[in-house]
């Protein structure tokens, strides 16, 4: 529990995290608002085919916030301090204080999960508010099951980013790849055009938890994404457990 508090405090004192929180809370609302404006005429006329996805589209494309959180949680530990500050890495201090590596990882992962869930709840509020303001009475009802799906999607995405960064230690590559992949035309979307197997990639499967245009059922999609997260976290944990700290 004390390790968890420490990790939470470390995370929240990173300036990058606050940037991530702002992006995470506002970006989906902006996407949802733009989408609502574009679709408004169709919705009022009652011919829109995408009414059920309004708002969720923002939650689907606005995951950059949690990606940054997951990546920074790990990469900040591995940043080499400037030579004036001793040229050390935070990870050596962290592992001196919390000697058990698994406990350290667990505490860090829990901190990431807690922040992601809270962020997602705030985001859902801003997004719902944005669609209500623009569409007024035409705004779709938000169902609890789908919103919970969105929370799961955000949390799993954060954990994926966390696990991948644990393997690469450097934040740049996972950050770039994951942010690009969360964009409108993602790698995995492209791959679904080439092979059906791509529907089982974590982000495609995860989106099935709350988008209405889906390939897997919400529960299967969630399980598939969870399986990815678990596998990557296990690999990362083994690797982290065996790796020399300074390496």
């Amino acid at each position: 529990m004390r390790a968890f508090n420490a990790e939470l405090s470390k995370l929240l004192s990173l300036p990058g995290i606050w940037l991530a929180l702002v992006i995470g809370a506002l970006a989906p609302a902006v996407v949802a608002a733009l989408d609502s404006i574009v679709e408004k005429a169709d919705i009022v006329a009652g011919i829109s085919t995408r009414l059920s996805d309004i708002g969720y589209i923002g939650l689907g494309f606005g995951v950059q916030g949690v990606i940054i959180i997951g990546v920074l949680a790990v990469s900040s530990e591995y940043v080499t301090e400037s030579s004036e500050a001793g040229g050390g890495q935070q990870i050596t201090t962290s592992l001196t204080v919390v000697a058990s590596r698994l406990q350290f990882l667990l505490a860090k992962a829990c901190a990431v999960i807690v922040i992601s869930v809270l962020l997602c709840i705030v985001t859902i509020m801003t997004t719902v508010l944005a669609t209500q303001l623009i569409l007024g009475e035409h705004a779709p009802e938000f169902e609890w099951t789908r919103l919970i799906g969105a929370v799961c999607y955000w949390t799993f995405t954060a954990l994926l980013a966390f696990g991948i960064t644990l393997l690469t230690k450097n934040g740049m590559i996972p950050l770039t790849v994951l942010i690009i992949n969360s964009s409108v035309v993602s790698f995995s979307f492209l791959l679904t055009k080439a092979t059906k197997l791509a529907f089982y990639l974590p982000d495609r499967a995860g989106m099935d938890m709350f988008m209405s245009e889906r390939y897997l059922t919400p529960v299967t999609g969630g399980l598939v994404m969870l399986a990815w997260v678990v596998v990557i976290l296990i690999i990362a944990a083994i690797e982290f457990h065996r790796r020399d700290v300074a390496a």
Binding site: G16, Q64, T80, S83, G87, M172, I180, L190
Partner: protein
């Protein structure tokens, strides 16, 4: 900026090139960008072979992966500049080269020297792959002039994007914020803005840059010519570079 002898500038340029060449992350990024480009070109080629929608434009298939490949060049631009600021390398640099304006200029020139051949190779493989794969299926007569113009456009776009990222990098000086800003601009905000603000989209570096290498569709309205596109991207890059140099000279390192 004080006047320097050309010999001194050559030596600064040599030093900057040396620093770039010895950054491992630059090479890793270049190699992975190259690999990803080939994989994407393969994916696009396969899906357009399946589509069989009449005559496909090989150039557009080959350069469709450019949208992703530019991420690699953004990283290179940022790393080249921001690596000075992790640890105290910047102070060593400025002690040995006490002419800040020239030093930063030399860095951008060195960056361009590295980027141009890399961009050319990557763009060329992107076009070559679908050409080889689709040689027997579709009518693939492309004029050599169009090919050369497109490749030059693509190379220019990637180089200018790298320089633009480097300029923003020396303004913000920290890797992660610059990276997040640029990647979310080019991949999230940019595409959204194209739909939301069609009237001014052509004046932003990503859309204007798109016209540097893409053959516009015949029915597209208010498309830019490649020269106009180049001009707009160049203006953005130059303005950012000038701001970066001014700040670099005024600011405490």
């Amino acid at each position: 900026m004080s006047v320097l002898s050309s010999k001194t500038f050559t030596r600064i340029l040599g030093a900057e090139l040396d620093k770039l060449m010895t950054l491992p992350l630059i090479w890793h990024t270049l190699i992975s960008t190259f690999m990803v480009n080939i994989i994407l070109a393969a994916a696009y080629t396969t899906s357009s072979l399946h589509a069989e929608a009449g005559t496909q434009n090989i150039l557009n298939i080959g350069l469709a992966s450019m949208g992703y490949v530019q991420a690699g060049f953004i990283i290179i631009g940022i790393v080249a500049v921001c690596s000075e600021y992790t640890g105290g390398q910047i102070r060593t640099t400025l002690t040995t080269i006490p002419w800040r304006g020239w030093q930063l200029t030399a860095k951008y020139v060195a960056l361009a020297i590295v980027t141009i051949p890399a961009a050319l190779i990557i763009a060329a493989t992107g076009v070559l792959y679908p050409y080889i794969m689709m040689r027997d299926t579709a009518s693939v007569a492309i004029e050599i002039n169009t090919l050369i113009a497109t490749l030059i456009g693509a190379t220019g776009y990637l180089t200018l994007t790298t320089l633009l990222s480097a300029a923003l990098g020396s303004l913000i000086r920290r890797t992660t914020p610059v990276l997040v800003t640029l990647v979310s601009y080019y991949f999230i905000v940019g595409p959204l803005m194209r739909d939301a603000l069609p009237s001014i989209k052509n004046y932003f570096p990503d859309t204007a840059g798109y016209y540097m290498y893409m053959v516009p569709y015949a029915n597209e309205i208010n498309a830019l010519t490649s020269v106009q596109g180049t001009g707009i991207v160049m203006v953005w890059t130059l303005i950012l570079i000038i701001i970066a140099i001014v700040f670099y000279r005024k600011r405490d390192a």
